[in-house]
Amino acid sequence: MSSLASSTVLLRARSSVSALYGFALIALALAFTHPLILLAVAAATFGAARLSGCQRQLRGAVAFAIPLALMLAVINALLVRDGVTVLWRFGELPLFGQIDLTAEAFVYGFLLALRVVVIIAASALLVAIVDPDDVLRRMRRTAFRSALTATLATRMIGVLSRDARRMDQARRCRPDGGGSGRRAQLLMVGSVAAGALDRAADVAATLELRGYATRVAPPRGDSLPYSRADRAVLVSGLGLLALLILGAAFGLASFEPYPRITIVTGLNELLYGALIVLTALAAPLISQKGRP
């Protein structure tokens, strides 16, 4: 989290509020398969990321998600036989039986892929905007041991990934390049794992030295009042949740892929999608106009 990024409203808001905002976007992507709504959530997610300076994290997550999503699309198109509009007959295959490519399975596979990408992108936004230190601080009050484990684990991820990078460089400095193939990989993994125990013990010792084990609860009523950033993000997050509930209650944006694609796209759906984008971007857009 750079100092530039933390000047944006989503990063300044307290972690509970930012988490609500991120989870609301994920829930919308999980609740709807309608392409218009998925595109609206995608636009909201990427827009929020851009306005918060978190595009880099999202780009990395999407690059990871796309191969997975494409695989899902292909598997769905080849294995699901519920559609009625046959595009291509592959014939009989051992174990799989008759393989037909239907327009419905193809479209639904594509929408599943889009949904996976949007969910992973929204999750990446959630990780980027929620301050892990604040989450751990709040966890410490209610679940001490879980927070301890989480603190150790979050720190160890960074420490071990840097150790692995350094050890890989050291391996490449060996005259034989450290060997290749599975044996060399196993040696590297074993070495990082062996070092992990020492590293974990060192981090745990530091936790002891900083007084974690004998932590004293803070004085009662010692909570910060909600800032403008908190309130703005809270309103956006609650708005997204309200839209989710309304959409589900009124059966908006219904979509049935099988046996024949039934997709309702009217003014209601267009308005609903636009409302999602506007509600999600309201908080970051307000902060662009002045300090909240």
Partner: protein, 540 residues
């Protein structure tokens, strides 16, 4: 008056260890005292500090006898968490000394654990950030920090709760000379202004002895000397010469007594003997004018006989920051070169590019053969279950490690690991150039001497040697040429004596004592110079 720290016949053995790590240690530290803990590698310094912080035996297990009390809290009854209220501790590796994700959260963490209100935590964070000049890092992620920055943040976390006792294990090992000196000055300030008692274990005694009230020396787990700095240096001359500072060795070579605890004292003594000329303004390091006109250091043309050379080397980070800028360098076979510069000057990046681990953004590297690189942490090279799995038996014998063949590489000492890693990178085809990145971090003088001998042997066999280091004493003892980097550019490239005798920070202690006179950088050179002056003065 309650002692800030007291050891009373304290002995300790790690679980499963054949010999005790501490033996009957007794000493005490008064409030407001600044004490340096000296000793060779594996002498028990780190264990002593861990015992003072309560990690020994509460965290590490093992068996202990005797008593350790910190501000009246007996470590038999109080663990490290309780002791954290009175003692701030900074251990060796800054990477594992931070536990939160951002600098601000890291500094707030010990204060929150004490149950302070949000306002008090915010004030404490602000105070310590300003004290250590890290206020501009507060919102940065700890993963983005350099080793030196991380060290300061870890020190900040140890000091945030304003403990009355601070325990530090080699706090300057990751820092360049400027940052290392600054850190010791900060400790001195805390000691003088807040009355904080300080116990610091350090290999580079010349850096902190001048600030110390006392020095305790550890050897094989026992406390063998507890005396003021000057007396300790006299003791070291007789019993453990490896603990003598360069200034003390300079005085010994010149036949002067008593040994000085720092540069100021040494200069005062020499001036009182009329052995030091009036101070003059030294020219900046390595920039001595040769033909009347000031100029930048010459750009190396890749000579035909260069073992390794680079031309127009530029390296840009993804964010656009240039780490190296249009850099030319040529290493001649058999020449030993020291590469110096502050943290972040581009030393490690240059070595990695020269060895082919990284690709430069622009420019090219040419070598006559294999380039061997020893990275900062020798432990990273060790991936097998036994020492003899890492390298052939002949190589083990060459490096004096054959007796350790059956040991696990993680169980051998730091110096032995270093030798083993060097044996690994030098095995096989003889390299035309050997590059070493900060090879003496955490090393005592005896181990440094061994490394210098090996590097000299390599260069005598025709290998070009390039060592990136912050250690001016190593550079003076080992190198024939010093290249000084700043902001990715070479700002000085000259013979060692010229560079290391003309600077303030990039100068050896001998050069600082003598003010650069006679371009003497090592105690041997300085001692010869002083003896010559004494002979002239004594002549009728």
């Amino acid at each position: 008056m309650t002692s800030a720290l007291s050891f009373d016949r304290f002995s300790y053995s790690y679980p499963g260890a054949s010999a005790p790590a501490l033996r009957e240690v007794s000493f005490s530290l008064d409030p407001g005292e600044f004490v340096v803990c000296a000793g060779l590698s594996a002498s028990g310094k780190s264990t002593l500090l861990r015992a003072a912080s309560g990690l020994v035996p509460h965290f590490h297990g093992g068996t202990a006898s005797g008593h350790v009390t910190a501000n009246g809290l007996d470590t038999r009854e109080h663990g490290p968490g309780d002791l954290a209220r009175v003692a701030g501790t900074l251990l060796q590796d800054p990477e594992t000394q931070v536990v939160m994700q951002t600098v601000g959260a890291e500094l707030a963490f010990p204060l929150e654990n004490r149950g302070l209100s949000r306002a008090a935590v915010a004030r404490g964070v602000e105070e310590i950030a300003l004290t250590l000049s890290i206020a501009d890092l507060l919102e940065r992620a700890v993963d983005e920090l350099s080793g030196g920055e991380l060290q300061r943040v870890a020190l900040g976390a140890a000091l945030a709760a304003r403990p009355s006792l601070v325990l530090l294990d080699e706090p300057t090992s990751q820092l360049d000379p400027v940052a290392g000196d600054e850190l010791i000055w900060i400790l001195r300030r805390l000691n003088e202004e807040w009355g904080t008692a300080v116990l610091v274990a350090e290999h580079r005694l010349e850096r902190c002895l001048a600030h110390a009230d006392r020095v305790v020396v550890m050897s094989e787990g026992a406390l063998v000397c507890d005396a003021p700095p000057s007396e300790m240096l006299s003791w070291a001359a007789e019993h453990q010469p490896a603990l003598q500072t360069p200034a003390a060795r300079l005085f010994e070579r010149a036949g002067l007594r008593p040994p000085p605890s720092g540069v100021k004292e040494a200069r005062a003594t020499l001036q009182s003997h009329g052995l030091l000329d009036a101070p003059e303004n030294p020219a900046p390091a390595g920039s001595q004018q040769r033909r009347g006109r000031p100029r930048w250091p010459r750009r190396d043309r890749p000579a035909e006989d260069a073992a390794l050379s680079c031309r127009g080397l530029t390296f840009q980070l993804p964010g656009g920051r240039e780490v190296l800028r249009n850099l030319d360098l040529a290493l001649v076979p058999g020449q030993r070169t020291a590469l110096m510069g502050r943290n972040g000057a581009g030393k490690s990046t240059l070595l990695r590019i020269l060895a082919g681990l990284e690709k430069s953004t622009e420019g090219k590297v040419e070598s006559e053969g294999r380039v061997a690189l020893l990275l900062q942490n020798p432990g990273d090279y060790l991936i097998h279950e036994r020492v003899d799995g890492e390298v052939a038996a002949e190589a083990l014998a060459d490096f004096g490690l054959e007796a350790l063949a059956a040991c696990h590489p993680r169980d051998i000492s730091g110096g032995q690991r270093q030798r083993l890693a060097l044996a690994i990178v030098l095995s096989g085809e003889r390299p035309t150039a050997v590059l070493l990145d900060e090879p003496t971090r955490g090393m005592d003088r005896a181990a440094k001497g061994d490394l210098i001998s090996r590097l000299k042997a390599l260069s005598e066999a025709g290998t070009a040697v390039l060592v990136a280091t912050h250690d001016t004493e190593l550079a003076a003892a080992m190198a024939e040429r010093v290249v000084l980097l700043s902001g990715g550019r070479i700002v000085a490239d000259a013979p060692t004596a010229e560079v290391l005798s003309g600077g303030w920070h990039f100068a050896t202690e001998t050069a600082r004592v003598l003010g650069g006179q006679g371009q003497a950088c090592t105690p041997e050179q300085g001692g010869a110079l002083l003896r010559a002056r004494m002979t002239i003065e004594a002549a009728p």
